[in-house]
Amino acid sequence: MLYKLGRLSLNLVFEIGDFSLFTARAFGSLAGSKLLLRRIARAVHEQGTVCLPVIAIVGVFTGLVLGLQGYHVLSRFGSQGLLGTLVALSLVREMAPVLAALMLIGQAGSALAAELGIQRNTEQIAALETMGVNSYGYLVAPRLVAALIVFPIQTALFVILGIWGGSLSGSVLLGVDSGIYWSAVHRAVEARDLQECFTKAAAFGILAISLCAYQGFHAHRSASAVGARAVSAATTRAVVISSIVVLVADYIISSFFI
């Protein structure tokens, strides 16, 4: 038991160290990367455009549910006028960065892990290295830069559509005065809330995309699976680990802003 626990701890420390080196190598390779803008643009398209419909749908429905639930809770205290405050602060501080990140992990992160896993399996990554191409700079770094652009933009979109969804259920369906709702939104959100929102979005972007890239890039290391199963296992690990890490990071960042 003690032996197993020790081995598990050592593996965890190794993985954290190796992951940190992986991310550092990817950022370090940015300086020497060629045609970087073209690859960043492609990565922004992969992460951004493709995930846009999912973010929009989840954003609107999250706002609708927040408006509905918030209205029924607040009406017990006769405080329906605070619905805008509740919806806006919930979305800006917590729900938009976390849910947008989870959606992006599910769509862009899993696709990235699978793509890199297949590239590892079919020796495309080894081919890059034999050509003298820095595989971190070519495959990973543009994705990390793209995450820094895409995650905050998608989070902002999530916030906007969520607040609009809240007004739809609160004002249009449940009868809260529209002026009161929007004025509460305007008064509630301060610069510090936006700072928290975008700090989280950027941090989640880097953590999620680098974790997904790390899992795919090292799909061949799996002792329990090879070939297609190794890619599938790497993709599953990528989604599960990055989702958990996003939630843990959310708690840590929130505690700094409270």
């Binding site: 060629k34 045609l35 495309q124 081919a127 034999t130 050509m131 191409v133």
Partner: protein, 270 residues
């Protein structure tokens, strides 16, 4: 360490190369010299460590022991400048071709030039089109690897390997999974372009007749050791028992089948 000499008569010199996986030795001290500008084939049965040897040379796998010299300069793991220089002057043709399936034919060939040189876009395009024209692939520039036949994928991989004008090209089982006609075509293609571009070719294969016909020198690998090195003519008359066994395997199969048919032997004896 010998000073770097681009015109060194020995392109590649391997000394005491060893590699194990999970404490199981695969390479047990390989010593080999590949003359510059030659076609050198390393033969051997499947699972004898041929691909591992080639991957150690290309630094895809890290050897446990031994030294590798490229044009007289040692490629030690600490000397990154020597490794970078080796990568610039060497290409690797993978058994699986390792083509980028999301890039077109032209983009695949352009990739090493775009990423490792300072050439302009027009020059890169010119070089890629030249390489593809020489390999009779000019009309497939916008196709993706999945839209090409096995032979064309092999030619595309070769175009990508030679477009950087390397001095050494490492071929890992270039004819694996191909029919005899295509095998001949691939070896003829290697011989043709080796003479045209004057690179040194190091090929690992188990196709004996084709390798003997196309190579200047051959080596035979057996259980992680070099069992024979010499010219194809020397290989053909060698009395080395393992060379005889490997060379005459087709004849041995005929004899074994004759014994089975006559009831004197069973499959389990093979």
């Amino acid at each position: 360490m010998t000073a770097e000499t681009p015109t060194h008569p020995i392109a590649l010199h391997v000394e005491g190369l060893e590699k194990s996986f999970d404490e199981k030795p695969v390479l047990r001290g390989i010593d080999l010299e590949v003359p510059r500008g030659s076609i050198f084939s390393v033969l051997g049965p499947s699972g004898t460590g041929k691909s591992v040897f080639l991957k150690c040379v290309a630094n895809i796998l890290k050897p446990d022991a031994g030294r590798i010299h490229f044009h007289g300069r040692e490629l030690s793991s600490g000397d990154t400048a020597a490794r970078d220089e080796f990568r610039r002057r060497c290409s690797f043709l993978f058994q699986s071709n390792a083509l980028f399936d999301s890039l077109t034919v032209l983009e695949n060939v352009a990739l090493p030039l775009e990423q490792t040189t300072n050439l302009g876009k027009i020059e890169i395009q010119r070089r890629c089109r030249d390489a593809l024209r020489q390999l009779e692939m000019e009309e497939f520039l916008d196709r993706y690897p999945a839209q090409l036949s096995g032979g064309m994928q092999k030619r595309l991989a070769l175009a990508r390997a030679i477009v950087t004008r390397p001095e050494l090209v490492l071929f890992d089982e270039p004819t694996a999974g191909l029919d005899p006609l295509r095998r001949n075509a691939v070896f003829a293609m290697i011989a043709k372009y080796q003479r045209q571009f004057h690179f040194t070719a190091l090929i690992v294969t188990h196709d004996v007749p084709e390798a003997l016909a196309a190579s200047d020198q051959v080596a035979l690998l057996n259980q992680g050791r070099i069992a024979f090195v010499g010219t194809p003519a020397e290989f053909s008359i060698s009395k080395n028992p393992f060379v005889s066994l490997f060379r005459d395997s087709a004849q041995a199969l005929g004899e074994s089948l004759a014994e089975i048919r006559s009831g004197r032997s069973t499959v389990s004896n093979l």
